[in-house]
């Protein structure tokens, strides 16, 4: 039996003992996860520094802060999320209990990505634990230091059987995908997303796919361009552009193109100094393969800011490109690097058209003072999310669902959405064996009279407050006994 099979089998056996059902045990694991993130802050930061050259502050800001927030929210809200959810009733079910019962799915597979190795692996795990599942965690092998730390340290805090960490490359992941899971949560590229979904099809396993795309950023010429460019510069060059929701490219009117270029150039200097290469808070490309890929994207466009690189360090300077069109190499795939192309469009109409000619992205950014314009972009485009006048920060609002649509993914998470995504909402109707007389109108032999009554009672829907419900119940009991009498007499 392979290592992967064993891990899944153990997780399933452990899940079947029922130990994840009590809320206290889930909260206990969540508290342990919180302890892990706070106690092992140093280890996590060191690993991320080795993987992505991210500074310790950068790691805390972009990785662990979010995870901590999610864990605390889950602990606080778990009782509310996991409680039975009542729904409205019909006339005939007035005296019955009708509710949705959130239940765990079973064993969930979480496949993490390398760009935020902790955030995109642990945040889904929070949802999985809260919902009462066991989870097999497969960190990306590309961020090898973080994967190693996760493999070594996580089992010291979480139940080893319920939440095993399984590391490995492509063959190991493929072996994992051959096993049966009750849900697969994948963060990564659309290409691999298709393979994951295909593998899941074998076992009819539902999937959540958090993919990517080219997230456009439209700058209206009448907005505060200075502030806009500050926020865009920040959003773009965090993690060296290796963020699924980074503004991929800018669309703006030719009349402001030079100004945008200048402002971004100034911001880069302000944030990352004259020499980002030596600056602690500027990262690196994850590996040589991606370095080469990103460098090749610059072909055919003009570098107006940055452009310098150092392959030995996988360093690419914060770079702005112009003379870019829809056909340029840099527009053929998600950049996932520190290159910011500026494409000129003659107004919001052309911007919307440009965006709609392409696959639905994970997010659309629009910078404008004009609410009507923003509303138009919302109404005439489609994307996972839309953020006006800033970048990235919608990720931090746990009451907003985070996910894609079309090529950028399916399903969503964060906060309660994570809990719901990894639960089964079981519909429950609790009836009694009493009031059988009322049921008789639906039984054969069928008569026209019975049909008339059944049509009225069985299917009419009512949304009621409790008092009105009592009143109606009294009236209904009276009517029901009348009906009962009538039917038994005829």
């Amino acid at each position: 039996m392979s290592r992967q099979q064993l891990a899944v089998q153990r997780a399933r056996k452990s899940f079947q003992t029922g130990k994840t059902k009590p809320l206290e045990s889930r909260i206990h694991q969540l508290r342990n996860l919180l302890r892990f993130v706070t106690e092992r802050r140093r280890d996590i930061a060191e690993a991320v520094k080795k993987d992505l050259s991210k500074s310790e502050h950068g790691t805390e800001l972009f990785e662990t802060l979010g995870v901590e927030g999610e864990i605390k929210l889950a602990i606080e809200k778990l009782a509310e999320w996991a409680a039975p959810r009542p729904v409205e009733k019909s006339l005939l079910t007035i005296s019955d209990e009708v509710f949705m019962h959130p239940e765990p799915l079973g064993v969930v597979l979480i496949i993490g990505a390398w760009n935020y190795p902790w955030a995109v692996t642990l945040q889904p795990l929070v949802g999985a634990i809260a919902a009462g599942n066991a989870a097999v965690i497969k960190p990306s092998e590309v961020c090898c230091h973080s994967a190693k730390v996760m493999e070594e340290l996580l089992p010291q805090y979480l139940d080893k059987d319920l939440y095993p960490v399984v590391t490995g490359g492509v063959p190991e992941t493929q072996e994992l995908l051959r096993q049966r899971f009750d849900h697969i949560f994948y963060t990564g590229s659309s290409a691999v997303g298709k393979l994951v979904m295909e593998a899941a099809a074998r076992n009819l396993t539902p999937v959540t796919l958090e993919l990517g795309g080219k997230s456009p950023c439209y700058i209206d010429k009448n907005c505060d361009i200075t502030v806009a460019c500050r926020r865009i510069t920040w959003g773009k060059f965090v993690n060296c552009g290796q963020t699924c929701i980074a503004p991929d490219y800018v669309l703006c009117d030719p009349s402001i193109q030079n100004r945008v270029q200048e402002e971004i150039k100034n911001c880069i200097k302000e944030f990352y100094t004259d020499d980002p290469k030596t600056f602690e808070d500027y990262g690196r490309i994850i590996n040589k393969r991606h370095f080469k890929r990103i460098m090749a994207l610059m072909e055919g466009s003009t570098v107006v800011v940055g452009g310098d690189s150092d392959e030995s360090q996988c360093y690419i300077a914060p770079t702005v490109l112009k003379n870019v069109t829809g056909e340029s190499k840099v527009m053929k795939e998600e950049i996932f690097g520190p290159l910011l192309p500026i494409i000129t469009v003659s107004g919001v109409d052309e911007a919307i058209q440009f965006i709609n000619e392409r696959e639905k992205p994970l997010v659309i950014y629009v910078f404008s003072n004009d609410n009507k314009l923003i509303k138009r972009v919302i109404a005439e485009t489609s994307s996972g999310a839309l953020l006006a006048n800033d970048c990235l920060v919608h990720f931090t609002v746990s009451s907003l669902p985070f996910g894609g649509v079309g090529n950028s993914g399916m399903g969503c998470y964060h906060g309660r959405y994570g809990f719901d995504q990894l639960s089964h909402m079981r519909s429950c109707l609790i009836k009694q064996l009493k009031m059988e007389g009322v049921n008789s109108m639906r039984y054969p032999p069928h008569t026209a009279k019975k049909l008339g009554w059944a049509r009225f009672f069985l299917l009419k829907q009512i949304n009621l407050g409790r008092l009105r419900r009592m009143m109606l119940l009294a009236m209904f009991v009276g009517v029901a006994s009348f009906v009962h009498q009538v039917l038994f007499q005829s």
């Binding site: 059902k21 502050h57 805390e60 800001l61 605390k72 009733k89 019909s90 079910t93 019962h101 009750d182 298709k194 979904m197 295909e198 099809a201 009819l204 539902p206 993919l211 502030v227 926020r231 920040w234 944030f271 990352y272 808070d281 003072n369 923003i374 919302i378 996972g384 999310a385 006006a388 006048n389 920060v393 919608h394 931090t396 609002v397 746990s398 009451s399 907003l400 649509v405 399916m410 079981r426 519909s427 429950c428 109707l429 609790i430 009836k431 009694q432 064996l433 059988e436 049921n439 639906r442 039984y443 054969p444 032999p445 069928h446 049909l451 059944a454 049509r455 069985l458 009419k460 829907q461």
Partner: protein
């Protein structure tokens, strides 16, 4: 005649024009759909009778009224469903607008089955229309009369640009699945579901699968055998057992079984008379192939037939049949029965029964009959299934407030009522930030520092907004 790709191109152009977005358009289409059902009730009942010998009563209740009800529900609630949902924020985002918008997905495909050919095709379609999508429906060719009727009626009532019927068998369906849709809604079997999912993976198309399974019916503790028998017979033999949520098999103690079997016999006579084949209230098996399959199960069972067993191949008739002394490895326990055969397995303890159900795949529905609420609770908490109903069968799926769907092998995703609207919508997160407070933003810009970080922690924690 239009090819499949021509149909899809037409629908996609219509969707991209934005015509399905306004509420008024959706209301008009839903109202027209209502007229379609109302105006043609008799033809619908006749088509269903042709396909399944469905009694008029069953057709009205489970194919006409349930659809009308769903339409009324959608029309009453459409405005509120379409409203943006404002959400809570943290301190750093207090001055921003954060809401979730429900948006249509685009062009969706709904593949219907043959057992409730109107309901299981039109009910999801209502959700899809309400959510603002263009819809391709593929009725089951097995229920041919209904297929014909829907193909004839739909273009007369609904916008031809936005909604299309595509017909055919497995070959045409496979060709259809090669196209790109924005959502696929499939009701049917596990085997075909795998094919659907694999086709969907090519385009990263999200899917809803409404499948089946063996829905167990546990009868334990103190129980009113007569009342239970009434409800069990009604739920089991409705549509001659060809319902995805029909109680598939019964688990009970010997004593319960001995009280139950005569009650079942009596109820069957009360409902259908002494010559059930002559009763107008009993359906037939849909095709000779399925009739043969069911007779095969009856021939291979090692249990004892105590009620029914009569059959008539030409009429595709199988009498409501009860089989006792059925073991866990019996032929009747291999696959979903989907017919009028009720196996009763005798298991003395509730715990053992629950264990048996855990050895099987998760079903679409789980039933328990008992006057003891502790028994009901125990079963609820130690089982998993799409839905759960105590002391009755099927009726839980008629409540639009409850999501209807499976889990594990019985499917994923759900619909009915608001859930149907959600199934065919994208929940888009929208955040509208202001231009002010740029100084506050400075906390997050490099160069990073410990001080900046601790301020940020405070402003972005969910707790901090309780101060405001």
């Amino acid at each position: 005649m239009e090819s499949q790709s021509q149909v899809l191109e037409r629908l996609r152009t219509a969707f991209e024009s934005g015509v399905t977005i306004p509420e008024k358009f959706r209301r008009t289409q839903l109202t027209n759909l209502m007229s379609m059902i109302k105006d043609n009730e008799e033809q619908i009942v006749n088509a269903l009778h042709k396909d399944l010998t469905k009694p008029k009563f069953e057709a009205i209740l489970s194919e006409v009224d349930i659809v009308m009800n769903e339409l009324h529900y959608a029309l009453s609630n459409l405005t509120s469903w379409m409203q943006p949902e404002y959400v809570s924020k943290n301190l750093a985002t207090k001055l921003d607008d954060c809401f979730v918008r429900r948006e249509p997905l685009g062009v969706v495909l709904i593949i219907g089955p043959w057992n409730y050919p109107m309901q299981l095709l039109i009910l999801p379609m209502i959700g899809a229309i309400a959510a603002g999508n263009c819809v391709v429906i593929k009725p089951s060719e097995v229920s041919a009369a209904t297929d014909n009727l829907i193909t004839e009626l739909m273009p007369k009532y609904l916008s031809k640009d936005c909604y299309a019927v595509v017909r055919g068998g497995p070959k045409e369906t496979q060709a259809l699945l090669k196209n790109r849709f924005d959502h696929i809604f499939y009701t049917g079997s596990q085997a075909v579901a795998r094919v659907v999912l694999q086709a969907a993976a090519v385009h990263l198309t999200p899917v809803t699968l409404e499948l089946g399974g063996k829905c167990p019916c546990l009868i334990y503790g103190r129980v009113n055998a007569t009342a239970a028998a009434h409800r069990l017979v009604w739920a089991k033999f409705f549509n001659a057992g060809q319902s995805c949520v029909a109680p598939d098999y019964v688990l009970c103690s010997k004593a319960t079984r001995d009280a139950l079997v005569p009650a079942l016999r009596q109820v069957l006579e009360d409902f259908y008379g002494s010559d059930i084949q002559k009763s107008p209230d009993m359906s037939r098996i849909v095709t000779p192939k399925h009739w043969t399959r069911l007779m095969g199960l009856l021939n291979r069972t090692k249990g004892k037939v105590v009620v029914g067993g009569e059959h008539d191949e030409k009429d595709r008739y199988i009498a409501p049949t009860v089989v006792v002394d059925v073991a866990e490895d019996d032929a009747l326990m291999e696959e979903e029965i989907f017919g009028p055969i009720l196996p009763i397995l005798t298991i003395e303890s509730l715990e053992e029964s629950i264990k048996l159900t855990k050895r099987k795949e998760k079903p679409l529905a789980f039933y328990v009959f008992s006057d003891e609420s502790s028994v009901v609770k125990k079963v609820l908490e130690n089982s998993s299934s799409g839905g759960f109903c105590s002391n009755d069968g099927i009726v839980h799926m008629a409540l639009p407030g409850l999501p209807f769907g499976g889990v594990g092998n019985s499917g994923f995703g759900h619909y009915h009522g608001h859930w149907g609207f959600e199934a065919f919508s994208h929940r888009r997160a929208v955040m509208l930030r202001g231009w002010a407070l740029e100084k506050l933003n400075a906390l997050r810009y490099p160069p990073y520092s410990d001080e900046k970080l601790s301020w940020l922690r405070w402003t972005t924690s969910p707790k901090s907004c309780s101060i405001m």
